[in-house]
């Protein structure tokens, strides 16, 4: 039987200017086209050209477009379980996320949930641990967080709210002038490479780390479930492989681009600061309160979060032996050779 020709539209959740993230969708499309000998052609549209990002998942579910490349957690307002597909505070880092998705049952559980939304998900990118955002003043203890007005979205905002932060999701265009004048005190974005373009180092110089709410956020390709089920097996394999490549490639790009960006941010006045220990501990406790609250009323969330949490325990048990020792030794000797 002749292989069918497929022409799909993909709406990205990101603008072209976020080249590393947006670019992963084009990488995916290029590889799918090459592997299928041109039979599968996926046209990538930046966020908003067809549908705005907050509607991208619904647009795929209703087959308005066949595919999206976006963050699952943008849609957690429909069901909190969506948040687990990308990242939750104190979740997994990028490598453990992949371990859990590919080998720890994560993909299967998530896709069982996505199927209820008429979606099929393929992991397609990771930013690695993000930064903790730009702050106008220093945070020396969890006490300092009280009354801090911060632009921080999603479940992370809910956690920060428990610590006394006032989450304010002001319009994107208002962030810079508001941060400059102190209308808000802090705003978080991604990591050095993407943050560099916003120039927040000029108006809110304290650059905190780690962004504990996004330890290894996975970006997903979402495909309309009916369209996915109609695909011949070889096409499915092609897409899964192209997704795996895009997943690795985005992380590789960030690992390559972030060091230089970090240096030029520091040169431009950014002051690197680690979150104090009690902030991390308070946030850790607050996060688990939130998960318990959601788990009490949402079986999907509970099942998937429990699995992720168990994987985290096992994963870090192994990490603290060889990985951590090797990494810390390498870090200490970074400058020597």
């Amino acid at each position: 039987q002749e292989a069918p020709t497929i022409r799909w539209r993909l709406t990205s959740g990101f603008p072209r200017s976020l080249d590393t993230i947006y670019g992963a969708a084009e990488t995916f499309a290029d590889h799918v086209k090459a592997m299928s000998g041109g039979k599968i052609e996926i046209q990538v549209f930046p966020a908003g050209e067809i549908v705005p990002t907050p509607q991208a998942a619904e647009a795929v579910a209703t087959n308005t477009v066949e595919m999206a490349h976006t963050c699952s957690y943008y849609y957690w307002g429909k069901d909190p379980t969506f948040a687990l597909g990308t990242a939750v505070p104190f979740g997994l880092n990028a490598r453990l996320m992949n371990g859990w998705l590919y080998q720890g049952g994560g993909n299967d559980m998530l896709n069982a949930f996505y199927a209820k939304q008429n979606l099929y998900g393929i992991a397609g990118g990771n930013t690695g641990v993000q930064m903790g955002g730009w702050w106008r003043k220093e945070i020396t203890s969890a006490e300092d967080l009280k009354g801090v007005k911060m632009r921080i979205a999603g479940i992370a905002g809910k956690v920060m709210e428990k610590l006394g932060v006032v989450p304010q999701q002001i319009p994107g265009g208002d962030i810079y002038p508001s941060l400059e004048r102190g209308t808000i005190d802090a705003a978080e974005w991604i990591g050095p490479y993407d943050d560099q373009k916003l120039g927040f180092n000029k108006v809110a110089p304290y650059y905190y780390y780690p962004g504990f709410w996004e330890g290894g956020p996975t970006i997903h390709f979402f495909i309309n479930l009916d369209k996915w089920n109609e695909l011949p097996e070889d096409y499915k394999a092609i897409m899964i492989n192209a997704g795996a490549y895009a997943n690795t490639d985005m992380m590789a790009r960030y690992d390559t681009l972030n060091p230089g960006a970090l240096k030029s941010l520091i040169a431009g006045g950014a002051k690197l600061k680690p979150f104090p220990q009690d902030v991390l501990e308070a946030a850790f406790a607050a996060s688990h309160e939130v998960y318990d609250e959601i788990s009490a009323s949402n079986a999907d969330f509970k099942q998937i979060w429990d699995s992720m949490k168990a994987y985290r325990g096992e994963g870090y048990l192994w990490y603290q032996v060889a990985e951590y020792s090797f990494d810390t030794f390498q870090i200490r000797n970074r400058t020597k050779g």
Binding site: D79, K149, A153, G157, V166, T183
Partner: protein
């Protein structure tokens, strides 16, 4: 024609009513925004809910107000060719425009908007911000607003046809003052 004109009168009053709500939301959204800014500045107290109701009221302003704007004939036109037309020519322009442009646009958009609302309603969708609001009420505004414009379109069509038949002496001038 008499009965139809009476229907048109009823529709006009419905639009006027929603026009009042729309006007009320102007002041309400302004006060909400100003008070939220003040309380955030003075007491570090605010919530994303206060930010969200502002754009939800904004949506209410234009969706509930659009029918009244249509009634007042204040939706802007490119009047390069429209302006010089005779009175009857202008009436015909509107008869054609309402049937061929306005009705299909509002029907098709309204149909999809209803499904859009139902999806949010059935999943009880919330906004994705901490402390955010339930979204179906504001999503309901969309089909309602489009339906109100459609309804007002019917009223305007009746008035234009009555004007063409000489059953109505309403002027229906376009360039009427806003004030």
């Amino acid at each position: 024609m008499k009965g139809l004109l009476r229907l048109s009168g009823v529709i006009d009053r419905i639009s006027l009513f929603f026009g009042w709500i729309s006007a009320g939301l102007v002041l309400l959204s302004c006060l909400t925004s100003a008070l939220n800014a003040l309380s955030r500045y003075l007491f570090n107290i605010s919530s994303n809910a206060w930010l969200e109701v502002q754009w939800q009221m904004f949506a209410g302003i234009f969706l509930l107000g659009a029918a009244q704007v249509l009634k007042m004939n204040e939706h802007v036109r490119v009047d390069l060719l429209y302006g010089p037309r005779s009175h009857r020519g202008k009436l015909w322009t509107d008869v054609f425009g309402i049937i061929a442009f306005l009705f299909p646009a509002m029907l098709i958009m309204g149909f999809y908007a209803w499904e859009f609302f139902m999806t949010a309603y059935l999943s009880n969708e919330h906004s994705s911000n901490a402390g955010g609001t339930v979204l179906w009420p504001v999503k309901l505004l969309l089909p309602v607003g489009l339906f109100l414009v459609l309804l007002q379109g019917i009223s305007e069509l009746i008035k234009r046809v009555a004007g063409l038949r000489g059953d109505s002496d309403e002027t229906l001038e376009y360039e009427r003052p806003v004030q």
